[in-house]
Symmetry: C2
Subunit: 346 residues, 2 copies
Amino acid sequence: MKKITIALDAMGGDYGPSEIVPAACLILKDNPDLDIILVGTKAILEDLVSSHASDVKSQITIHHASEIVGMNEAPAQALRFKKDSSMRVAINLVKERVAHACVSAGNTGALMATAKFVLKTVPGIDRPAISALLPTTIQGKNVRVLDLGANVDSTAEQLFQFAIMGSVLAETVGSINKPAIGLLNIGEEDIKGNEQVKQTSKLLSSQTEINYIGYIEGDDIYKGVADVVVCDGFVGNVALKTSEGLAKLIMQFIKEAFKKNWLTKLSALAAKPVLKSLAKRLDPAQYNGASFVGLQGIVIKSHGSAKAPAFANAIKQAMIEVRNNVPERIHAEVGALLKKISGLST
Amino acid sequence: MKKITIALDAMGGDYGPSEIVPAACLILKDNPDLDIILVGTKAILEDLVSSHASDVKSQITIHHASEIVGMNEAPAQALRFKKDSSMRVAINLVKERVAHACVSAGNTGALMATAKFVLKTVPGIDRPAISALLPTTIQGKNVRVLDLGANVDSTAEQLFQFAIMGSVLAETVGSINKPAIGLLNIGEEDIKGNEQVKQTSKLLSSQTEINYIGYIEGDDIYKGVADVVVCDGFVGNVALKTSEGLAKLIMQFIKEAFKKNWLTKLSALAAKPVLKSLAKRLDPAQYNGASFVGLQGIVIKSHGSAKAPAFANAIKQAMIEVRNNVPERIHAEVGALLKKISGLST
């Protein structure tokens, strides 16, 4: 396999380098063909590398960056004034082709704004989207959802582009042949859905390159009805965050139910391995690593609160996209589709 | 307490009268001050009443209706051509003040269209909304969400009206003093949220009658941060349905984890009471009964798949709204607010 280099925004996220350096070490151990560039405060990173990474030191380079983007900093502010931030420099390394991809657990808005500014979108794609995998009731099957919050008030053309990108991602990264694309909608309204969704459905129905299966509703996401679910970023973000909230609520209900009396407490002991495996299966860490798709370069966003193993999963995600040349594939697919579909060349 | 009469669309829902008549009997037993009008096919209803309702017969009236609205029938079709449907006649009884409220498990779109047409909205309210309660991590606290799917592409003025209606519902039905109103938004976007949400936030901030606490995100819904969550119907419906899907996924994960091997199967036996209480706590039946708020009359929508106990909860919901004069309260509150807030009188 080809040698891969990934740049990490080592100062981003809630825990910064104290989790990101161990994450790098974790993943480097299993991947001798991987090199990692840690971008951030040199002194801090050197210290952490020498205490954590003795065996994988040769695969690590430290690249100094003098600034850090705050988790609540305004994206425009970060873009304009923090030109030597660990985030910006890590993205620059992708632009300069020093790194094949970059991974950050930092401020999502700033990361998106900076990535868009530095890397630009793939020709034919108006705006990048955030995409991630979610579990389904079908064993071993995940569903890819996009957009998860990069864009609000998406037009039908943009939703159509999300569908193309999702299809390419599912095909390349997920190894799914002719992935089934569903369009998120609601079933309650007189004439179903809003204008953008109806328009998008027409666009998707008018082509044969993408395996469009029609509308799906919120409860279909986790049923695994589709391989890819397309929606506006406002809707997708609410669905994702609501799911996170509900998962927490249910885990709390389970704990409370087991704590009710001495008998239930006793049964909790017996059920401990089961509860552990359940918690593991619901652990967002395993799904950590959202793709910023549609850019001329690979950028993976880790959850801000990711610990080392979760961040390592985000790095893995980046490696898969590098190996599959995702931006190039999206570029080719979009180009081919735009040529075929008349009236769509915006 | 005053005598209450509720009309039931006895033919609606996936199970129709075979669950709805037993539901009526269930609730009548505990409520001697309640009368129920069963609307639908007379012969079928008479049969069911004589076999189920011997002890509460005096509280039941059967009102014949010759048609039934199909669960997948187009709302406009139902509205135009099924003027003697059980749904339409039940709503007519509210309009004619023969019944204080009506409850239906039928086609949501048709129910909303018919209710809007027959009952009209409260002056000052552009469009009715669908509102329901969801559980939170705070023991004993529910959160009221609206709109859950009656309206897509809601304007800021409409979202503002939803906030007023939610506030009144939480105060009257939920007995909450100065209920905290949150506006559903996302935190990812450069400048947070879409135009309608930003505009709504301005409207809500400019008044003091409603206890507006600002933006909340999807994961805040189940945290009980707010008493009322306001959102567009497309977003609310996706959030609700996605939650239903995830709850099913987690219950399946739990079952699978307990079925893994003989040891986990043994622990499932021990944990049985806990699993039962969990399933009960997550059972949507207890939250059954969504309010169509903003109408000049009370209409409660039951889940189409509701069995008798769940449908009985929807009837309970109707009784609470009748006792609290919800439409009149909304009318008064909206009138007062519209007088106070300049520039809002659309």
